[in-house]
Protein backbone atom coordinates (compact mmCIF):
# COMPACT_ATOMS: atom_id res chain seq x y z
CA UNK A 1 0.00 0.00 0.00
CA UNK A 2 1.64 3.21 -1.21
CA UNK A 3 1.35 6.23 1.07
CA UNK A 4 0.27 9.12 -1.18
CA UNK A 5 0.08 11.80 1.50
CA UNK A 6 2.31 14.85 1.18
CA UNK A 7 2.94 18.02 3.15
CA UNK A 8 3.05 21.62 2.03
CA UNK A 9 4.64 23.11 5.12
CA UNK A 10 2.12 22.46 7.90
CA UNK A 11 -0.70 21.55 5.53
CA UNK A 12 -1.16 17.85 4.96
CA UNK A 13 -2.75 16.65 1.70
CA UNK A 14 -4.03 13.11 1.21
CA UNK A 15 -2.24 13.05 -2.14
CA UNK A 16 -0.15 15.48 -4.21
CA UNK A 17 -2.77 16.10 -6.92
CA UNK A 18 -4.25 19.62 -7.06
CA UNK A 19 -6.31 21.01 -9.96
CA UNK A 20 -4.62 24.26 -10.98
CA UNK A 21 -6.15 27.69 -10.70
CA UNK A 22 -8.04 28.86 -13.77
CA UNK A 23 -8.83 25.36 -15.02
CA UNK A 24 -11.19 24.31 -12.24
CA UNK A 25 -13.38 27.35 -11.58
CA UNK A 26 -14.67 27.02 -8.03
CA UNK A 27 -15.21 23.28 -8.45
CA UNK A 28 -18.86 23.30 -9.52
CA UNK A 29 -18.52 21.87 -13.03
CA UNK A 30 -16.24 19.01 -11.96
CA UNK A 31 -18.41 18.08 -8.99
CA UNK A 32 -21.00 17.00 -11.59
CA UNK A 33 -18.54 14.37 -12.81
CA UNK A 34 -16.72 12.99 -9.79
CA UNK A 35 -16.42 13.20 -6.00
CA UNK A 36 -13.97 16.04 -5.41
CA UNK A 37 -12.99 14.54 -2.05
CA UNK A 38 -10.50 12.30 -3.86
CA UNK A 39 -8.34 15.40 -4.52
CA UNK A 40 -5.42 16.48 -2.37
CA UNK A 41 -6.71 20.04 -2.67
CA UNK A 42 -7.85 22.39 -5.40
CA UNK A 43 -6.74 25.87 -6.33
CA UNK A 44 -9.65 28.09 -7.11
CA UNK A 45 -9.91 30.54 -10.00
CA UNK A 46 -7.71 33.61 -9.58
CA UNK A 47 -9.83 36.11 -7.65
CA UNK A 48 -9.44 39.88 -7.60
CA UNK A 49 -11.07 42.61 -5.51
CA UNK A 50 -13.49 43.82 -8.21
CA UNK A 51 -15.41 41.54 -10.57
CA UNK A 52 -13.54 41.26 -13.88
CA UNK A 53 -15.19 40.57 -17.25
CA UNK A 54 -11.94 39.36 -18.80
CA UNK A 55 -10.59 39.85 -22.31
CA UNK A 56 -12.46 40.08 -25.64
CA UNK A 57 -13.11 36.97 -27.78
CA UNK A 58 -11.45 34.86 -28.99
CA UNK A 59 -9.50 33.92 -25.89
CA UNK A 60 -8.42 30.40 -26.82
CA UNK A 61 -6.13 28.93 -29.48
CA UNK A 62 -4.91 25.39 -29.90
CA UNK A 63 -1.21 24.64 -30.26
CA UNK A 64 0.88 21.54 -30.76
CA UNK A 65 0.58 19.67 -27.45
CA UNK A 66 -1.18 22.49 -25.69
CA UNK A 67 -3.16 25.68 -25.88
CA UNK A 68 -2.97 29.43 -25.53
CA UNK A 69 -5.42 31.28 -23.33
CA UNK A 70 -6.04 34.94 -22.71
CA UNK A 71 -9.03 34.75 -20.40
CA UNK A 72 -7.83 37.82 -18.51
CA UNK A 73 -8.67 36.84 -14.94
CA UNK A 74 -12.44 36.81 -15.44
CA UNK A 75 -13.86 36.32 -11.95
CA UNK A 76 -16.82 37.55 -9.88
CA UNK A 77 -14.66 39.42 -7.34
CA UNK A 78 -13.61 38.34 -3.85
CA UNK A 79 -16.80 39.42 -2.05
CA UNK A 80 -19.02 37.41 -4.39
CA UNK A 81 -16.67 34.44 -4.10
CA UNK A 82 -16.87 34.57 -0.30
CA UNK A 83 -20.66 34.98 -0.36
CA UNK A 84 -21.57 32.49 -3.08
CA UNK A 85 -18.70 30.14 -3.87
CA UNK A 86 -17.16 29.47 -0.46
CA UNK A 87 -20.40 27.99 1.00
CA UNK A 88 -20.81 25.86 -2.11
CA UNK A 89 -17.21 24.66 -1.97
CA UNK A 90 -17.87 23.51 1.61
CA UNK A 91 -20.68 21.33 0.23
CA UNK A 92 -18.78 19.76 -2.66
CA UNK A 93 -15.26 19.44 -1.18
CA UNK A 94 -14.20 18.71 2.38
CA UNK A 95 -10.43 19.04 2.17
CA UNK A 96 -8.08 22.01 2.35
CA UNK A 97 -8.60 24.62 -0.38
CA UNK A 98 -5.95 26.78 -2.02
CA UNK A 99 -7.22 30.30 -2.61
CA UNK A 100 -5.60 31.87 -5.66
CA UNK A 101 -5.57 35.62 -5.22
CA UNK A 102 -4.79 38.23 -7.85
CA UNK A 103 -4.24 41.92 -7.51
CA UNK A 104 -3.18 45.13 -9.18
CA UNK A 105 -1.60 46.89 -6.18
CA UNK A 106 0.06 45.90 -2.92
CA UNK A 107 -3.01 47.15 -1.08
CA UNK A 108 -5.37 45.06 -3.19
CA UNK A 109 -3.33 41.88 -2.62
CA UNK A 110 -3.32 42.54 1.12
CA UNK A 111 -7.03 43.36 1.32
CA UNK A 112 -8.03 40.31 -0.73
CA UNK A 113 -5.94 38.01 1.43
CA UNK A 114 -7.15 39.57 4.68
CA UNK A 115 -10.76 38.89 3.66
CA UNK A 116 -9.96 35.16 3.63
CA UNK A 117 -8.60 35.06 7.21
CA UNK A 118 -11.82 33.76 8.70
CA UNK A 119 -12.48 31.08 6.13
CA UNK A 120 -11.09 27.96 7.76
CA UNK A 121 -11.31 25.81 4.65
CA UNK A 122 -8.81 28.06 2.88
CA UNK A 123 -5.57 26.38 3.97
CA UNK A 124 -3.12 28.13 1.66
CA UNK A 125 -3.05 31.49 -0.11
CA UNK A 126 -1.62 31.21 -3.59
CA UNK A 127 -0.69 34.71 -4.62
CA UNK A 128 -0.74 35.17 -8.37
CA UNK A 129 1.99 37.61 -9.31
CA UNK A 130 2.33 36.09 -12.74
CA UNK A 131 -0.78 36.22 -14.88
CA UNK A 132 0.59 37.31 -18.27
CA UNK A 133 -2.71 38.61 -19.59
CA UNK A 134 -3.37 41.68 -17.56
CA UNK A 135 -1.30 44.51 -18.92
CA UNK A 136 -1.79 46.75 -15.95
CA UNK A 137 -1.14 44.21 -13.29
CA UNK A 138 0.43 40.98 -12.14
CA UNK A 139 3.13 40.78 -14.78
CA UNK A 140 5.20 43.56 -13.27
CA UNK A 141 5.18 42.14 -9.75
CA UNK A 142 6.27 38.67 -10.84
CA UNK A 143 9.02 39.82 -13.18
CA UNK A 144 10.90 41.90 -10.66
CA UNK A 145 12.44 40.42 -7.48
CA UNK A 146 11.86 43.58 -5.43
CA UNK A 147 8.21 43.83 -6.46
CA UNK A 148 7.68 40.11 -5.79
CA UNK A 149 9.18 40.56 -2.33
CA UNK A 150 6.97 43.59 -1.67
CA UNK A 151 3.81 41.62 -2.47
CA UNK A 152 5.02 38.77 -0.28
CA UNK A 153 5.58 41.12 2.67
CA UNK A 154 2.27 42.93 2.13
CA UNK A 155 0.35 39.66 2.23
CA UNK A 156 2.31 38.12 5.09
CA UNK A 157 1.55 41.20 7.20
CA UNK A 158 -2.21 40.57 7.08
CA UNK A 159 -2.55 36.80 7.29
CA UNK A 160 -1.52 33.85 9.41
CA UNK A 161 -2.30 31.43 6.58
CA UNK A 162 0.64 29.98 4.65
CA UNK A 163 1.49 32.17 1.67
CA UNK A 164 2.63 30.51 -1.56
CA UNK A 165 3.78 32.88 -4.30
CA UNK A 166 2.86 31.73 -7.82
CA UNK A 167 5.74 32.53 -10.13
CA UNK A 168 5.81 33.37 -13.80
CA UNK A 169 8.24 31.58 -16.12
CA UNK A 170 8.52 34.70 -18.29
CA UNK A 171 11.72 35.85 -16.59
CA UNK A 172 15.44 35.39 -17.18
CA UNK A 173 16.19 33.80 -13.80
CA UNK A 174 13.24 32.35 -11.88
CA UNK A 175 15.51 31.34 -8.99
CA UNK A 176 16.24 35.00 -8.30
CA UNK A 177 12.51 35.76 -7.95
CA UNK A 178 12.09 32.66 -5.78
CA UNK A 179 14.89 33.77 -3.46
CA UNK A 180 13.39 37.25 -3.16
CA UNK A 181 10.01 35.76 -2.15
CA UNK A 182 11.69 33.38 0.31
CA UNK A 183 13.69 36.20 1.91
CA UNK A 184 10.47 38.23 2.24
CA UNK A 185 8.84 35.47 4.25
CA UNK A 186 6.94 33.33 1.72
CA UNK A 187 5.93 29.92 3.09
CA UNK A 188 6.11 28.22 -0.28
CA UNK A 189 6.17 28.68 -4.03
CA UNK A 190 4.01 27.52 -6.91
CA UNK A 191 5.47 27.35 -10.40
CA UNK A 192 5.08 27.77 -13.28
CA UNK A 193 2.27 29.92 -14.62
CA UNK A 194 1.80 29.97 -18.41
CA UNK A 195 4.48 30.91 -20.93
CA UNK A 196 3.69 33.93 -23.09
CA UNK A 197 2.90 32.85 -26.64
CA UNK A 198 1.13 33.82 -29.84
CA UNK A 199 -0.53 32.30 -32.91
CA UNK A 200 -1.44 34.06 -36.15
CA UNK A 201 -4.36 33.08 -38.37
CA UNK A 202 -3.06 32.49 -41.90
CA UNK A 203 -6.45 33.35 -43.44
CA UNK A 204 -6.96 36.69 -41.69
CA UNK A 205 -3.23 37.37 -41.16
CA UNK A 206 -4.15 38.58 -37.68
CA UNK A 207 -3.38 37.11 -34.23
CA UNK A 208 -5.74 34.25 -33.38
CA UNK A 209 -6.29 35.64 -29.89
CA UNK A 210 -7.99 39.03 -29.57
CA UNK A 211 -5.62 39.97 -26.76
CA UNK A 212 -2.81 39.28 -29.29
CA UNK A 213 -0.81 37.12 -26.87
CA UNK A 214 -1.86 34.34 -24.55
CA UNK A 215 -0.42 31.97 -21.99
CA UNK A 216 0.84 28.62 -23.28
CA UNK A 217 -0.06 25.58 -21.21
CA UNK A 218 -0.35 21.84 -21.69
CA UNK A 219 2.23 19.10 -22.27
CA UNK A 220 4.29 21.49 -24.42
CA UNK A 221 5.46 23.39 -21.31
CA UNK A 222 6.13 20.36 -19.07
CA UNK A 223 9.93 20.17 -19.61
CA UNK A 224 10.22 23.92 -19.01
CA UNK A 225 8.31 23.54 -15.75
CA UNK A 226 10.43 20.59 -14.63
CA UNK A 227 13.61 22.57 -15.28
CA UNK A 228 12.35 25.61 -13.38
CA UNK A 229 11.16 23.54 -10.40
CA UNK A 230 14.62 21.97 -10.37
CA UNK A 231 16.30 25.40 -10.39
CA UNK A 232 14.08 26.78 -7.63
CA UNK A 233 14.51 23.64 -5.49
CA UNK A 234 18.26 24.22 -5.67
CA UNK A 235 17.86 27.89 -4.77
CA UNK A 236 15.43 27.92 -1.80
CA UNK A 237 14.37 25.67 1.07
CA UNK A 238 10.62 26.21 0.67
CA UNK A 239 7.97 23.66 -0.31
CA UNK A 240 7.19 23.87 -4.03
CA UNK A 241 3.94 23.16 -5.85
CA UNK A 242 5.06 22.06 -9.32
CA UNK A 243 2.79 23.09 -12.15
CA UNK A 244 2.95 23.11 -15.93
CA UNK A 245 1.83 20.52 -18.46
CA UNK A 246 1.40 17.68 -15.99
CA UNK A 247 -0.87 15.13 -17.69
CA UNK A 248 -0.21 11.73 -16.12
CA UNK A 249 0.77 9.98 -12.88
CA UNK A 250 4.25 9.58 -14.36
CA UNK A 251 4.45 13.35 -14.90
CA UNK A 252 3.45 13.88 -11.23
CA UNK A 253 6.33 11.68 -10.11
CA UNK A 254 8.76 13.40 -12.49
CA UNK A 255 7.74 16.83 -11.19
CA UNK A 256 8.24 15.62 -7.62
CA UNK A 257 11.67 14.21 -8.47
CA UNK A 258 12.58 17.70 -9.70
CA UNK A 259 11.68 19.11 -6.30
CA UNK A 260 7.91 19.56 -6.03
CA UNK A 261 6.13 18.56 -2.80
CA UNK A 262 2.76 18.60 -4.56
CA UNK A 263 1.66 19.04 -8.14
CA UNK A 264 -0.99 21.13 -9.86
CA UNK A 265 -2.79 19.84 -12.94
CA UNK A 266 -4.06 22.55 -15.29
CA UNK A 267 -4.80 22.27 -18.99
CA UNK A 268 -5.19 18.48 -18.71
CA UNK A 269 -8.51 19.12 -16.90
CA UNK A 270 -9.84 21.04 -19.88
CA UNK A 271 -8.98 18.25 -22.31
CA UNK A 272 -10.26 15.55 -19.97
CA UNK A 273 -12.42 16.71 -17.06
CA UNK A 274 -11.62 13.46 -15.23
CA UNK A 275 -7.84 13.89 -15.66
CA UNK A 276 -7.15 14.40 -11.94
CA UNK A 277 -9.29 11.41 -10.98
CA UNK A 278 -7.49 9.18 -13.48
CA UNK A 279 -4.07 10.43 -12.32
CA UNK A 280 -4.90 9.79 -8.65
CA UNK A 281 -6.13 6.30 -9.50
CA UNK A 282 -2.95 5.57 -11.45
CA UNK A 283 -0.49 6.93 -8.86
CA UNK A 284 -0.23 3.88 -6.54
CA UNK A 285 0.70 1.53 -9.37
CA UNK A 286 3.22 3.99 -10.79
CA UNK A 287 4.81 4.41 -7.34
CA UNK A 288 4.98 0.65 -6.89
CA UNK A 289 6.68 0.33 -10.23
CA UNK A 290 9.22 2.92 -9.09
CA UNK A 291 9.74 1.07 -5.80
CA UNK A 292 8.39 4.00 -3.77
CA UNK A 293 6.39 3.36 -0.57
CA UNK A 294 5.88 7.01 0.37
CA UNK A 295 5.32 9.32 -2.56
CA UNK A 296 6.70 12.20 -0.50
CA UNK A 297 10.11 10.50 -0.71
CA UNK A 298 10.20 11.45 -4.40
CA UNK A 299 10.44 15.16 -3.65
CA UNK A 300 13.83 16.37 -4.85
CA UNK A 301 15.15 12.81 -5.14
CA UNK A 302 16.66 13.52 -8.56
CA UNK A 303 19.08 16.07 -7.13
Amino acid sequence: MVNLSVRLGDVELKNPVIPASGTFGYGREYAELYDLDILGSFSWKGTTAAPRPGNPQPRIAETAAGMLNAVGLQNPGIDAVIAEEVPNIARIFHGPVIANVGGFSLQEYAENCAKLNDIDQVAILEVNISCPNVHAGGKNFGCDPHAAAEVTRAVKAVTKKPVFMKLTPNVTDIAEIARACADAGADGLCLINTLLGMRIDLKTKRPLIANRTGGLSGPAVFPVAVRMVWDVYEAVKLPIIGCGGVSSAEDVCEMMLAGASAVEIGAANLRDPCACKKIIEALPAVCERLGVERIADLTGAAH
Partner: protein, 245 residues
Protein backbone atom coordinates in the same frame (compact mmCIF):
# COMPACT_ATOMS: atom_id res chain seq x y z
CA UNK B 1 -22.72 16.34 -18.69
CA UNK B 2 -21.40 12.86 -19.15
CA UNK B 3 -18.06 11.53 -20.34
CA UNK B 4 -18.25 8.23 -22.21
CA UNK B 5 -17.04 6.34 -25.24
CA UNK B 6 -19.12 6.41 -28.40
CA UNK B 7 -18.60 4.17 -31.42
CA UNK B 8 -18.75 5.65 -34.90
CA UNK B 9 -21.37 3.65 -36.77
CA UNK B 10 -21.42 5.37 -40.12
CA UNK B 11 -20.36 8.45 -42.04
CA UNK B 12 -22.16 9.78 -45.11
CA UNK B 13 -20.96 12.66 -47.25
CA UNK B 14 -23.76 15.19 -47.82
CA UNK B 15 -21.98 17.92 -49.80
CA UNK B 16 -18.39 18.77 -50.71
CA UNK B 17 -17.48 19.57 -47.14
CA UNK B 18 -20.43 18.37 -45.05
CA UNK B 19 -20.87 14.93 -43.50
CA UNK B 20 -23.45 13.07 -41.47
CA UNK B 21 -22.10 10.94 -38.62
CA UNK B 22 -23.95 8.42 -36.49
CA UNK B 23 -22.35 7.51 -33.16
CA UNK B 24 -23.69 4.86 -30.81
CA UNK B 25 -23.38 5.22 -27.04
CA UNK B 26 -25.07 6.45 -23.90
CA UNK B 27 -27.02 9.62 -24.69
CA UNK B 28 -28.71 9.89 -21.28
CA UNK B 29 -27.06 13.27 -20.60
CA UNK B 30 -28.69 14.85 -23.66
CA UNK B 31 -31.81 16.67 -22.52
CA UNK B 32 -32.65 19.26 -25.19
CA UNK B 33 -32.15 20.02 -28.88
CA UNK B 34 -29.44 22.64 -29.35
CA UNK B 35 -27.04 21.01 -26.91
CA UNK B 36 -23.65 19.88 -28.15
CA UNK B 37 -21.00 17.24 -27.65
CA UNK B 38 -17.26 17.78 -27.25
CA UNK B 39 -15.19 15.13 -28.98
CA UNK B 40 -11.60 14.20 -28.23
CA UNK B 41 -9.54 13.40 -31.31
CA UNK B 42 -6.14 11.68 -31.42
CA UNK B 43 -3.30 14.18 -31.78
CA UNK B 44 -5.46 17.21 -30.96
CA UNK B 45 -5.08 18.85 -27.57
CA UNK B 46 -8.51 20.48 -27.40
CA UNK B 47 -11.77 18.69 -28.02
CA UNK B 48 -14.02 19.65 -30.93
CA UNK B 49 -17.48 20.96 -30.02
CA UNK B 50 -20.15 19.65 -32.41
CA UNK B 51 -23.84 20.49 -32.26
CA UNK B 52 -26.25 17.59 -31.81
CA UNK B 53 -28.48 17.22 -34.89
CA UNK B 54 -30.67 14.56 -33.33
CA UNK B 55 -30.48 11.71 -30.86
CA UNK B 56 -32.17 8.53 -29.69
CA UNK B 57 -31.61 6.62 -26.47
CA UNK B 58 -28.47 5.01 -27.81
CA UNK B 59 -27.31 7.03 -30.80
CA UNK B 60 -26.21 10.54 -31.73
CA UNK B 61 -26.68 12.08 -35.15
CA UNK B 62 -24.13 14.77 -35.96
CA UNK B 63 -23.69 16.95 -39.03
CA UNK B 64 -20.11 18.09 -39.44
CA UNK B 65 -18.63 20.66 -41.79
CA UNK B 66 -14.90 20.35 -42.40
CA UNK B 67 -13.42 23.67 -41.30
CA UNK B 68 -10.00 22.67 -40.01
CA UNK B 69 -7.71 19.82 -39.05
CA UNK B 70 -9.94 18.51 -36.29
CA UNK B 71 -13.12 18.20 -38.32
CA UNK B 72 -11.00 16.88 -41.24
CA UNK B 73 -9.80 14.05 -39.00
CA UNK B 74 -13.25 13.45 -37.52
CA UNK B 75 -15.04 12.82 -40.82
CA UNK B 76 -12.26 10.45 -41.87
CA UNK B 77 -12.63 8.18 -38.84
CA UNK B 78 -13.56 4.66 -39.93
CA UNK B 79 -16.70 2.94 -38.65
CA UNK B 80 -15.92 1.18 -35.39
CA UNK B 81 -13.68 4.00 -34.15
CA UNK B 82 -14.23 4.70 -30.45
CA UNK B 83 -14.38 8.36 -29.52
CA UNK B 84 -14.17 9.94 -26.06
CA UNK B 85 -17.21 12.23 -25.94
CA UNK B 86 -18.51 14.73 -23.41
CA UNK B 87 -22.26 14.73 -24.04
CA UNK B 88 -25.19 16.83 -22.96
CA UNK B 89 -23.28 20.12 -22.94
CA UNK B 90 -24.96 23.52 -22.96
CA UNK B 91 -28.49 24.67 -22.23
CA UNK B 92 -30.28 23.76 -25.47
CA UNK B 93 -33.43 25.28 -26.98
CA UNK B 94 -36.57 25.69 -24.90
CA UNK B 95 -39.23 24.68 -27.39
CA UNK B 96 -42.08 25.54 -25.05
CA UNK B 97 -41.46 29.24 -25.63
CA UNK B 98 -42.02 29.30 -29.38
CA UNK B 99 -45.73 30.10 -29.32
CA UNK B 100 -48.11 28.99 -32.08
CA UNK B 101 -46.05 30.18 -35.06
CA UNK B 102 -42.38 29.51 -34.45
CA UNK B 103 -39.90 29.78 -37.28
CA UNK B 104 -36.64 27.84 -37.32
CA UNK B 105 -33.91 29.61 -39.26
CA UNK B 106 -30.62 27.93 -40.09
CA UNK B 107 -27.66 28.86 -42.23
CA UNK B 108 -25.22 26.28 -43.62
CA UNK B 109 -24.06 23.78 -41.01
CA UNK B 110 -26.15 25.77 -38.52
CA UNK B 111 -29.23 23.88 -39.69
CA UNK B 112 -28.05 20.82 -37.73
CA UNK B 113 -29.64 21.43 -34.31
CA UNK B 114 -32.87 22.66 -35.93
CA UNK B 115 -33.58 19.13 -37.18
CA UNK B 116 -33.87 17.62 -33.70
CA UNK B 117 -35.73 20.73 -32.58
CA UNK B 118 -38.28 20.49 -35.43
CA UNK B 119 -38.92 16.83 -34.69
CA UNK B 120 -39.59 17.53 -31.02
CA UNK B 121 -41.85 20.47 -31.84
CA UNK B 122 -43.89 18.27 -34.13
CA UNK B 123 -44.11 15.63 -31.42
CA UNK B 124 -45.36 18.36 -29.09
CA UNK B 125 -48.11 19.27 -31.59
CA UNK B 126 -46.56 22.43 -33.04
CA UNK B 127 -45.78 22.61 -36.76
CA UNK B 128 -42.81 24.91 -37.19
CA UNK B 129 -41.91 26.83 -40.31
CA UNK B 130 -38.32 26.00 -41.22
CA UNK B 131 -36.18 28.37 -43.29
CA UNK B 132 -32.83 27.02 -44.41
CA UNK B 133 -30.17 29.12 -46.13
CA UNK B 134 -27.16 27.98 -48.16
CA UNK B 135 -24.56 29.64 -50.37
CA UNK B 136 -25.60 27.72 -53.46
CA UNK B 137 -27.62 24.70 -54.56
CA UNK B 138 -24.63 22.38 -54.32
CA UNK B 139 -24.16 23.35 -50.66
CA UNK B 140 -27.70 22.43 -49.65
CA UNK B 141 -28.31 19.31 -47.57
CA UNK B 142 -30.92 17.69 -45.35
CA UNK B 143 -33.83 19.18 -47.30
CA UNK B 144 -35.46 15.79 -47.76
CA UNK B 145 -34.95 14.92 -44.12
CA UNK B 146 -36.67 18.13 -42.99
CA UNK B 147 -39.49 17.60 -45.50
CA UNK B 148 -40.08 14.08 -44.23
CA UNK B 149 -40.57 15.39 -40.71
CA UNK B 150 -43.66 17.22 -41.97
CA UNK B 151 -42.70 20.82 -41.29
CA UNK B 152 -43.27 23.73 -43.61
CA UNK B 153 -39.93 24.04 -45.44
CA UNK B 154 -38.54 27.15 -47.13
CA UNK B 155 -35.12 27.34 -48.76
CA UNK B 156 -32.95 30.25 -49.82
CA UNK B 157 -29.62 30.31 -51.64
CA UNK B 158 -27.40 33.32 -52.07
CA UNK B 159 -27.10 32.72 -55.82
CA UNK B 160 -30.70 31.69 -56.33
CA UNK B 161 -29.83 28.21 -57.66
CA UNK B 162 -32.31 26.71 -55.24
CA UNK B 163 -35.38 28.21 -53.62
CA UNK B 164 -35.56 31.92 -52.99
CA UNK B 165 -32.58 34.04 -54.04
CA UNK B 166 -31.31 35.67 -50.88
CA UNK B 167 -30.97 34.95 -47.20
CA UNK B 168 -33.02 33.33 -44.46
CA UNK B 169 -34.13 36.81 -43.41
CA UNK B 170 -35.87 37.06 -46.80
CA UNK B 171 -37.68 33.80 -46.05
CA UNK B 172 -38.80 35.03 -42.67
CA UNK B 173 -40.16 38.26 -44.12
CA UNK B 174 -42.53 36.21 -46.29
CA UNK B 175 -44.11 34.50 -43.29
CA UNK B 176 -44.97 37.49 -41.16
CA UNK B 177 -47.21 35.51 -38.81
CA UNK B 178 -44.04 33.88 -37.47
CA UNK B 179 -43.04 36.01 -34.52
CA UNK B 180 -40.66 33.76 -32.61
CA UNK B 181 -37.43 32.38 -34.10
CA UNK B 182 -35.04 29.60 -33.22
CA UNK B 183 -31.82 30.45 -35.01
CA UNK B 184 -28.47 28.83 -35.70
CA UNK B 185 -25.86 29.89 -38.23
CA UNK B 186 -22.91 32.19 -38.82
CA UNK B 187 -22.74 35.35 -36.69
CA UNK B 188 -23.72 37.81 -39.47
CA UNK B 189 -26.85 35.73 -40.06
CA UNK B 190 -27.71 35.66 -36.35
CA UNK B 191 -27.32 39.41 -36.26
CA UNK B 192 -29.51 39.95 -39.32
CA UNK B 193 -32.26 37.73 -37.94
CA UNK B 194 -31.98 39.41 -34.55
CA UNK B 195 -32.80 42.71 -36.27
CA UNK B 196 -36.04 41.47 -37.90
CA UNK B 197 -38.90 43.68 -36.76
CA UNK B 198 -41.50 40.90 -36.84
CA UNK B 199 -39.86 38.96 -34.00
CA UNK B 200 -41.17 39.40 -30.46
CA UNK B 201 -38.69 36.86 -29.18
CA UNK B 202 -36.19 34.25 -30.17
CA UNK B 203 -33.43 31.87 -29.22
CA UNK B 204 -30.07 32.16 -30.94
CA UNK B 205 -27.38 29.48 -30.95
CA UNK B 206 -23.84 30.89 -30.75
CA UNK B 207 -20.48 29.49 -31.75
CA UNK B 208 -17.22 30.17 -29.90
CA UNK B 209 -13.67 29.00 -29.63
CA UNK B 210 -13.86 26.91 -26.49
CA UNK B 211 -11.27 25.62 -24.09
CA UNK B 212 -13.12 23.03 -22.04
CA UNK B 213 -16.72 23.12 -23.32
CA UNK B 214 -18.21 22.56 -19.86
CA UNK B 215 -17.93 25.91 -18.09
CA UNK B 216 -14.63 25.65 -16.25
CA UNK B 217 -12.13 27.80 -18.14
CA UNK B 218 -14.02 31.00 -19.04
CA UNK B 219 -12.49 30.76 -22.51
CA UNK B 220 -15.76 31.45 -24.33
CA UNK B 221 -17.54 34.04 -22.15
CA UNK B 222 -19.35 36.84 -23.94
CA UNK B 223 -21.09 39.94 -22.62
CA UNK B 224 -24.90 39.85 -22.42
CA UNK B 225 -27.44 42.17 -20.86
CA UNK B 226 -27.45 39.68 -17.95
CA UNK B 227 -23.69 39.95 -17.45
CA UNK B 228 -21.04 37.69 -18.94
CA UNK B 229 -22.22 34.27 -20.03
CA UNK B 230 -20.23 31.20 -20.98
CA UNK B 231 -21.28 30.13 -24.48
CA UNK B 232 -20.51 26.50 -23.56
CA UNK B 233 -22.38 26.30 -20.26
CA UNK B 234 -24.88 29.17 -20.01
CA UNK B 235 -25.38 28.96 -23.81
CA UNK B 236 -24.93 28.09 -26.59
CA UNK B 237 -28.52 29.35 -26.79
CA UNK B 238 -28.91 32.99 -25.85
CA UNK B 239 -32.27 34.75 -25.78
CA UNK B 240 -33.09 37.67 -28.07
CA UNK B 241 -33.40 40.19 -25.27
CA UNK B 242 -30.04 39.40 -23.66
CA UNK B 243 -27.84 39.45 -26.77
CA UNK B 244 -25.21 42.17 -27.12
CA UNK B 245 -23.57 42.53 -30.55
Amino acid sequence: MKQSLFTLEHTRQLTGDTYELVLSGDTSAVTAPGQFVNIQLPGKFLRRPISICNWTEDALLLLVRVVGEGTHDLVRCVPGTELDVLSGLGNGFDLTQGGAHPILLGGGIGIAPLYGLAQRMLEAGVTPTVGLGFRSGKDAFYLEEFSKLGCRLLVATEDGQLGTKGFVTDLAKNVRECDYAFVCGPTPMLKAVHGLGQLTGGQFSFEARMGCGFGACMGCSVPTTNGYKRVCKDGPILYKEEIVW
